[in-house]
Symmetry: C2
Subunit: 317 residues, 2 copies
Amino acid sequence: MDIPTYDDMLAAHDRIAPHIRRTPIRVSHYLNELTGADLFFKCENFQEPGAFKVRGASNAVFGLDDAQAEKGVATHSSGNHASCLSYAAMLRGIPCNVVMPRTAPQAKKDTVRRYGGKITECEPSTSSREETFSKVQAETGGDFVHPYNDPRVIAGQGTCSKEFIEQTEGLDMVVAPIGGGGMISGTCLTLSSLAPETKVIAAEPEQADDAYRSFKAGHIIADDAPETVADGLKVPLKELTWHFVSNHVTDILTASEDEIVDAMKLTWKRMKIVIEASCAVPLATIIKNRDRFAGKRVGVIITGGNVDLDTLPWIKG
Amino acid sequence: MDIPTYDDMLAAHDRIAPHIRRTPIRVSHYLNELTGADLFFKCENFQEPGAFKVRGASNAVFGLDDAQAEKGVATHSSGNHASCLSYAAMLRGIPCNVVMPRTAPQAKKDTVRRYGGKITECEPSTSSREETFSKVQAETGGDFVHPYNDPRVIAGQGTCSKEFIEQTEGLDMVVAPIGGGGMISGTCLTLSSLAPETKVIAAEPEQADDAYRSFKAGHIIADDAPETVADGLKVPLKELTWHFVSNHVTDILTASEDEIVDAMKLTWKRMKIVIEASCAVPLATIIKNRDRFAGKRVGVIITGGNVDLDTLPWIKG
């Protein structure tokens, strides 16, 4: 297992800095009063493609040697990773092949195509996805960039916390959502060296709490097909992210669907930023566990803002 | 007529700086490509009470002498001015009395009350409002702070453009929405001294184009009860704001209801910020008049983000 190091993260930051945004920190007096904590929100939704995943994707894309770059990159994903990888590949001017279930939302396909990604559709099953992906990779020679179980991706996501510590001059804890664990792993990677006193808390939907149960059990537990409004957080941990979660995460807290939607709407209303349900989970857990956070300097990573504005979870259709 | 000066604006900025946010500038590669311009968005929606009006309100509130401060301030408004004045009064710890039609949305009343404002309801007519306001003012001695036709308010709004020029190192033009003209007047006040080469363009809904028609006619034309989704822009110019509009504004451009809603949704989608329909009018006019803006460095003032999230104009109920 090729575990990324702190130096890999530093190299990643040098590599991707020209291609990503050093996203701003925002605060809200209102949310500070509500929670009793000093909250600092790192707005990764302000990355040009709308999500932190552009960090890991750019690190992978801009780290390729010229020979591999010519063949480009490939992935299977129906979420932010696919569009961020396409975006990074577009910036470098190299091919990006994406295998997506034919049932994926049209908006997601449109975004990948707008960034020049080439989509090959598969049936919505694991076997069809794997078979289709093998074929695409064999044909194109594209370098496989996994959405999170890839040391280049984890090192890239870790650059977010480096900026966070520099911008806030220190935090008692950082809370980030956990799905596959890429952002949480990058956060652990960076903070365990740069700010070892800063605790890392992962936040997860109750209805997709496989990381929570893995954390308690001491080994990876993967759910089959969890259903949650936080659709970026349905995927299971893998060996690389489990390494960081099991070694460095202080705790995993969960929130219900209603709590997540309430925290999402509250963030839109009070902070005037568009955030995905997935990154409302940290605020939901902070509101729910007031005693854990009150009086502390708490960093919250707003991981993305790619939302279907026509169907908001608090508006019944 | 007591016309505020550039020095008044500088004094206002010193006075209010501890109480407001120096709001960030955001850019979007996507919107730059769409418009052909270099767009810079000044995010006044990120002020704690969600709108630029906290600038003018704070300047009025913190400029009062102690004797007047004890009696507090008063206004009639059902929009952002009422909540921003209440917020500023709360910061100074003085009374704020607001006369509001009993038909005003509950959410607006709640916001004023949350900031400690005291609401006296009137009937939804001009005569009832004036009568009720006279009574409240006589009883409380509160200093009347008009939403825009007040030199302290205009000087306060002008502080936004001072920051804007400092943060962008120069702009070819600034586009801001026009309703009563407070923000546009402050923009003219500041830029005519600080950056006289920077043009000031006002943007207005076609369905509430009284400022456009005033500008063409050379005198104030007030509409009776215009209807537009940009509900912050229904009020007419007054003598002080007309002074700035008639002397300093380069042009007034208009946009249809559909164009405004499209620009609003596009801003949410691409920039991940929650903005009111009122401050989508500038982007709508920029998209509509591409040739006027392409190749230019264009500042856009995002005036506010206080939106009813349960009823969005692009979602049919």
